[in-house]
Symmetry: C2
Subunit: 262 residues, 2 copies
């Protein structure tokens, strides 16, 4: 396929792509942008819809063929890139169908996939690096999916995407208020555990779930943790005892400890 050269920032395509830098623009167009050779390769391997490959005029690296490809003058390319030292390659992808009605989630639960029926519920995580790492960890642990609650940073934020390393293409991503997701899970007979920061909760080391038993875990905001009303709604609240002096663990680290221990 031939490459189209674009030399102006005012080009209509470029203007639309630039809008993908905001959550609003991504929602309107149903598209999002990723950066870097490795992540783009991973996207192609995952079979996600790829609308365009965008190269800096100076880019000499490899890129997947068979897609609409554009070469941009350096100053035009830089108006799109998010990182300070961009690798010179971007791709525009179609947003995944993200289940955001309780009925969709219910149907998903009713159809067990190959993965174990375990879900990670994310309540208000703010830091993009943390969210991306949490999704990557849930994928590594073989979880079936994550639910992103209200107030959690947008999945298609460029820093989130960089930290996921493509894991959001491997597992289900659901956008639902956490209380709704919990009701749906509980209605399907799946116990929901919430992480708590206090020692009245159950020490996670005393839990004994069969490997692969359906389960959901709620993790919370960096400062506040999981909301009190959600802890109350959960079947059980758990905490990680810390012998040292640190006040708390990073939320992605705490998630990793729990997902791999349960």
């Amino acid at each position: 396929m031939q490459e189209e050269f674009i030399s102006s920032k005012q080009n209509a395509k470029v203007k639309n792509w630039r809008k993908l830098k905001t959550a609003k623009g991504r929602k309107q167009q149903g598209l999002y942008m990723i950066e870097g050779e490795h992540l783009i390769e991973e996207a192609v391997r995952s079979g996600v819809y790829l609308e365009a490959i965008i190269l800096n005029e100076t880019y000499e690296g490899a890129y997947p063929t068979g897609f609409s490809t554009y070469r941009l003058a350096a100053h035009v390319f830089e108006s799109l890139a998010e990182t300070d030292s961009p690798q010179g390659i971007l791709a525009i992808l179609g947003a995944q169908s993200r289940f955001n009605a309780a009925e969709d989630f219910q149907q998903l639960l009713a159809k067990p996939g190959d993965a174990i029926n375990r879900w990670l519920l994310v309540d208000g995580v703010q830091d993009p690096g943390n969210l991306g790492t949490i999704i990557r960890t849930a994928d590594a642990a073989g979880y079936r999916g994550v639910v992103l609650g209200t107030g959690t940073v947008d999945l298609y934020n460029d820093k989130v995407l960089r930290s996921t390393q493509g894991s959001h293409w491997h597992i289900e991503v659901v956008e639902l208020p956490i209380e709704t997701a919990m009701q749906t899970l509980q209605g399907a007979g799946i116990p929901v555990l919430a992480t708590a920061l206090h020692r009245e909760a159950r020490d996670y080391r005393t839990l004994d779930y069969a490997a692969g038993a359906p389960l959901a875990l709620v993790v919370g905001n960096e400062g506040q943790g999981v909301q009190a009303k959600l802890i109350e709604q959960a079947n059980l609240s758990v905490f990680i005892p810390m012998p040292g002096q640190a006040e708390s663990l990073n939320v992605a680290v705490a998630t990793g400890i729990l997902l791999f221990a349960l």
Copy 2:
């Protein structure tokens, strides 16, 4: 104590403080800079040497008293701050005595403290957020200290400090080539485990160390992992089996899983 007002970026003190933004400047002056009310409170609580408190002229929040305090014109303050939206308060601290000779480390090992004699060895971790989170995790797990090997990002980098949340004041921080630290640990009869990315290593779930038994764990660079020569030098190499599709875990998450499981 009275506040001194500084209105010029060319002020000699300000010029010296600005040099603390580089690893070279920090090494020359034996000082480093931290930002934000919470971290500064934590520093005061930890009893670390505090040389100066620096406030933006617009700052109206709380700050510890009894220290040399400076108020800076906004443009002067901004020339020092590292974050995009600084909180308006900085502090200059004395660098901790960081043991960086093998003999010092040997003496440290010979004097068991209150903490369990467990050490985390960090081989070439590059991302400041990862290193800070790793130190915070080692603190939470009650480890006695961390060893930062050659090629690991500087402890006093502002992003590292923000992620440690003060944990580097709670545990020992040693700067030594990892092979030297390993030899010293092994000479003291402490087994050294290295994390490996391949499945020929031992599944960490099959290990059974008594709680509190002396132990050291080596974690490695984000891309390459622990260097092969170090894996060879270790008493044992371990890995974390991942049932999912992710290629790897974030190094701070992997560290958390291992520290809390061992």
